[in-house]
Structures are given as structure tokens and as C-alpha cells.
Symmetry: C2
Subunit: 376 residues, 2 copies
């Protein structure tokens, strides 16, 4: 029995790629420069200077932005504001397990549309629209999707914005990984594609969400939405009634951090490390587990691995745990299916841990009976 469990399950960075010194210095500046702003209740929309910074990033006015205690809280408010029980919501298949849980909890009629390696199957999504499904929202993770690691192509982004306009639904562009692209070219957000030329902030059909968990740190719990001011005002009211205002101290620290030289340096470090980890994970899988099919992602935290049809990943999960390695089963990200798939999160592991972890998974895989390809 190995002494230390290696976890491919948690979508969190290892401490060595968090700029603790930069954060410590940012905290010091934040309290020194704006003691009233940090210590007072503040507004339900969040710490003003950070709201302005985010607005600038997306070329909108600040009233398009609302900060929350982590982006899952933003999702929850958005769903409370927009999705009633029995409303149709489109999600990707597979998708983030917490989003599925949150939508299920609200009684949404969830329609899952297959994810391809260049993003959601737009033709399949259009067929759902043509049945008159009339969705309120389509939840899409455009960059380095969780759990698949895939990225939505530019052509599909454009098609999706056209569909949202034609069928009048909201695209919920859930984009926490955008800044951690380590290869390939950055693609425009659907938020920007929905904007008419020369009219910043004019888009009506995209709500954008992101967070600082992947580019500052998760424990700081700062997420945000970018949307039309009317919707932001509605959500701000929900926020005030829930907690008066989100964390001003944390947002003040983020504000100082992102406006300093430490920020680009920190992102470079994160990207360099993640690129190495993703590449080494791919190499280890090719070497140790040749049955595995996967694409090495261009960014983000996750790799999706398909094993031969009939592989019992639930049994693999148990056999792997016995060998001191954990991952997340594909079924956790799907309403149905995914029995032969798994998600490997590599952001929290060093290269030696990744290599040892894959060795253990491969050993667990070999311990299973040969997959019964033709079984019912």
C-alpha cells in the first residue's frame, strides 16, 4: 500500500504555482491604500476598483460587472435570476458536475448536447432548438472545458452567437480557464462576438462568468459575471439580500495583485508549469496505458481519457484507490453514459507525482478482467 495518495481528482493548483509572496505584498498594499474600502461593507456588486478593472478587460462599463464570492456563487445567482423550475437549459455532455447538480436542484429540464474535441456539437444543438425546446440558457465552457479539456472553435463560437440571437436564448459563457492557455492561439469570447462593432457592451445574448481561482488562487474566492446592466442589477439585489456584499478584503487584495507586475509573471509561471504537466501526463499515458485515448489540452487543468468500450471505470476507480491514486469517473459529468471515461486533473501534481500516478492507474487497469466489448 503506497504511503501517500496521489489525487488526479481535484481541480486546484499546487502551492508552488501560487504567488504567495505577490499576494502577501498585494494584501499589504490593499490595506495601506484603501483601508475604508477594504474594511467597510461595500456594495453588493463588489469592490469598485476591481469591478472597473474587469470591465476594462471586457470593454464594457462597470455596471455590466458583478463580483461574487467565487464563480459558483455567481452561477447560483444567475440561475436563481433566470432559470425557473421546468425551464429548459442546454448543457454540454460531459460537463462540470457542480453545474449539473445546481441545475438539477432548481428543477431545470436539462438537455445535454454532445461535446466534440472542437466544442459542443452545434448541429445537434440546433436540432434541439428546432424541436421548439425554447431554452432559457445554454451553459458552455469554451476554453479547456471541465472535464474534457476541449476548446470551442472560433467558427462554432460565431455559429452559437447567431443561434442565440435567432432563437433568443442566453449563452452562459463559463470561462474560468481562459488565461491559462499554454499553446495555440487565444480565441475571442462569445461575449465579444455578440457585441455590435463600435458599440461596446451592446450584446444581449451572452452572460460571461469567470474567476480568479486559476490565475490568483482558489482560497481568495473571487468570481464575477459580465452581462447587461438590467440583469446585473437584478442579480445584485439577490446578492444584497443573501449576504449584503461579497468579500471586500479579498477583492481588494485581488485588485492590487492584478494591477501589479507580479500578475503577468505569475500567469507565465502557471502556464509554463501546466504545459509541462499536461505534456508529461500525455507521455506517461502513451507509455503506460496505450489503450487510453485522449487529446493533450492547449490549456487548463484537465485531461479527458477514454478507455476501450466496456471498460468498467467504476471498478478501475476502486482498484486505483487501493493502489493510492484517485481520479474522477466520467459518469460524474454526464446525465447518462461515460462508463468507460475518466477525468485526470493535473494542475495540482508535480511531474514525478503524475508519472507515479499513471503507473498506478495502469497497474489497476491491468488488474481488471479484459474489457467485455460485446457485453450488454
Amino acid at each position: 500500500m503506497p504511503s501517500t495518495t496521489i489525487s488526479f481528482a481535484r481541480g486546484a493548483p499546487s502551492l508552488d504555482i501560487v504567488d504567495v509572496d505577490g499576494l502577501r505584498a498585494a494584501a499589504d498594499r490593499a490595506f495601506a491604500k484603501d483601508p475604508a474600502g477594504l474594511t467597510g461593507y461595500g456594495k453588493g456588486t463588489g469592490y469598485g476598483p476591481l469591478r472597473e478593472w474587469i470591465a476594462d478587460q471586457h470593454d464594457v462599463d462597470a455596471e455590466h460587472v458583478l463580483l461574487t464570492n467565487g464563480s459558483m456563487q455567481a452561477d447560483a445567482f444567475l440561475f436563481d435570476a433566470v432559470v425557473a423550475s421546468d425551464d429548459t437549459v442546454i448543457v454540454e455532455l460531459p460537463t462540470y458536475d457542480r453545474t449539473l447538480l445546481s441545475l438539477r436542484g432548481r428543477g431545470a429540464d436539462i438537455r445535454a448536447v454532445e461535446l466534440e474535441s472542437d466544442g459542443v456539437d452545434v448541429a445537434a444543438l440546433e436540432r434541439v432548438l428546432k424541436t421548439g425546446a425554447g431554452p432559457k440558457l445554454a451553459h458552455l465552457i469554451p476554453n479547456f472545458q471541465n472535464p474534457a479539456g476541449y476548446t470551442l472553435s472560433l467558427a462554432k463560437r460565431q455559429q452559437l452567437v447567431e443561434l442565440a440571437r435567432a432563437y433568443d436564448f442566453l449563452i452562459f459563457e463559463d470561462d474560468p480557464y481562459r488565461e491559462v492557455r499554454f499553446s495555440g492561439e487565444s480565441l475571442p469570447t462569445m461575449l465579444s462576438l455578440d457585441t455590435d462593432p463600435g458599440r461596446p457592451g451592446s450584446g444581449q445574448h451572452v452572460v460571461y462568468a469567470s474567476s480568479f481561482s486559476k490565475i490568483v488562487c482558489p482560497g481568495i474566492r473571487v468570481g464575477y459575471l459580465v452581462a447587461q446592466p438590467e440583469l446585473i442589477a437584478k442579480i445584485a439585489k439577490l446578492a444584497v439580500n443573501t449576504y449584503i456584499a461579497p468579500n471586500q478584503v479579498a477583492q481588494g487584495i485581488v485588485n492590487q495583485f492584478v494591477r501589479s507586475e507580479a500578475f503577468p509573471a505569475s500567469i507565465t509561471k502557471v502556464k509554463t508549469e501546466l504545459a509541462t504537466r499536461a505534456a508529461k501526463l500525455g507521455e506517461a499515458l502513451n507509455r503506460e496505458l496505450p489503450d487510453a485515448r485522449f487529446e493533450v489540452p492547449e490549456g487548463g487543468y484537465f485531461m479527458w481519457v477514454e478507455l476501450p468500450k466496456g471498460t468498467d471505470v467504476a471498478a478501475l476507480h476502486a482498484a486505483a484507490a487501493e493502489r493510492g491514486v484517485v481520479f474522477t469517473k466520467g459518469t460524474d459529468f454526464m446525465l447518462e453514459g461515460g462508463e468507460a471515461a475518466l477525468r485526470l486533473a493535473y494542475a495540482g501534481l508535480t511531474v514525478p507525482e503524475i508519472e507515479e500516478g499513471v503507473t498506478r492507474i495502469a497497474d489497476a487497469y491491468r488488474s481488471l478482467a479484459a474489457p467485455a466489448v460485446d457485453a450488454a
Copy 2:
């Protein structure tokens, strides 16, 4: 027209009674001592060391404690866990406006029981219980109540715990002001009175809530619940599904602050200043507005002022605003009634501001027609 509006409306401290230097130093120590704990996701129950510290304060084990992003978020989770639509909930009359709003939003059957200067009218509350109301929860603010400033007597605390046991309902002891008592003797919590001698944590009928907003600062947004571990576990699940975990950075800073010498020194400063402000407010009212009836509180942020029956406080509010002074109308804290009452929050104002503010309110009062005592 006065150049600067004086606000008696906001329940927030002025910056001069917030220990910004102490917080700044605490932030520095927190990042230096526990970088992994501060920057990682952490647990839905909150930052471990602070959870332990709170548990020690209340003589319970840590599994009785859950930390949240401000105590209103704790209230919201508690209501979600315990109060279904049409469930009966007892509140004080008057009570905190945001609690009323939150309970109304959940469709609770709200029964308001008159507040006396020594706390809720226990005989009236017992009459409600005897009708078979079967409340799930009685929401009580025991110390320096918001909005009234009154404190629940020891005898009534004991009676309420007996009633909660006899009629099997939960007392929600909402206690953010406990540590800011500036005169008189501190009274035991109902949480402690519900505990059997020699059996720490044994009480079944009190859920305790408090926050660091009044003893550290509001912008840090750290609140907490103390309850039976089963209920805490249920609420932790709601918390994880809502936001994964509360703010670890903010809670790490609070943890360092409350364990340092800066903390007792800061509380002493807060209490000294609040005592002066409350006393000066009382003196100014006696001098400028002899029609006002009030009790100078023994702690906390608020003074409740009753004007002669028939006084139109809504009109007074408007006339005061014209003179550059705002307060909160009594009606905001009641399901009905309160038309001749107002709440004055003095924690955010200096003594000169308090004196000038009362002068303006008195001028506004004199500008109204004489109160029509016998009017319908």
C-alpha cells in the same frame, strides 16, 4: 442645505474604530504562516484554525461550528435547512429588517412577538405556543437588539430555553453584538444555558450565530453558526453546493487577528468609543428633542426612539433628509406599526456628527405640524 449628509441609517463602524494596522499585520502573518491553507479551496465548513478558535469560545467541539461569508449567509443557509414554506417562525417586534425580508422570501408564517426593554415578551410568546403554533424557529437577538438596542434578561433567557425544550422548537440566537457591551454585566448565551452541566455541546434547542463584522470589520465578511453536528453537516452540504468553500483568505486573516494582542486592544477601543457615542446621543436627544423617549443601550450600535403617538415619522424622515440627515423608520422593522418610531445607528458617526445630526432631526421635527394625538 448642509453640504454633508449625516447618516444614522447604517449599522457600520466608522473607520477610526477599525484596527487597520492590526489587520494589515494579521494578513501578513496569515500568508506567511499558512500559505497552503489560505490559498487552497479549503472546506465548506471554513478555515480550520478559526473554526477551532470559535469552538473553544463556546466550549464545543469544532464539528459544532460552520463559518460563512458573513452571518447573513449563515442565516440564509439555516433558513434553507430548517424553514419550509408555511412553517411558523417567531420573530421579535421590531426586528432586523433583512431577517424579515429573508423569512418572507421563503414563505414563512411569521409571528411577531412584542419586544420589551428586557427582551421579548416571554408570556406573549408562550401564549402563541399554547395556540399550537408549533414554530420551527424563534429568531431572537439577545444583546443590544437591532433595531431596539434592548438586551434580553437572564431570567427570560432561562425561560426561553425551557420553552424551546418543552415545545421542541429551535431558538435562533442571533448575537453579533455580544462583544461590544460597554456597560453592565455580560449575560450567558442561551446556547450555554441549553447545555447540560458537565456535557459540553449537549444542547439541542439553540442555534447560535455571530460574526466578526462588529469586532474586526464588516468588509472581512466572516460569520458563523454553532449548532448540533448533524445540522452543521446538513448546512455544510448546502454551502459546498453553493460556493464550494467560504473565503479562506479572509478567515485566515481573522484567525491571526483574534489570536493576537491587537484583538483585545481593538475591542476595548471600540467599546470606549461606542459608549461615548451612545451617551452623547442620549444627551443630545434630551437637550434638543425632549419629546423623544428612549433608553441608552448598554452596548451595540443602535438606539430606538419613540416619538409621541401620532407623530408621522415618514414625514419626519423626508423633512430630515431635506436638512441633510437620514435615519431608519420604525416601520422598516415591523410587519405593522412603528409609525411613530425610528432607529438611530450611532456607531458610524463621530460625536460632533451625532450632535449636529440630532440638531437637524429636532429642527425637522419642529417643522412638522403638531402631532394629531386623536387622529384615526
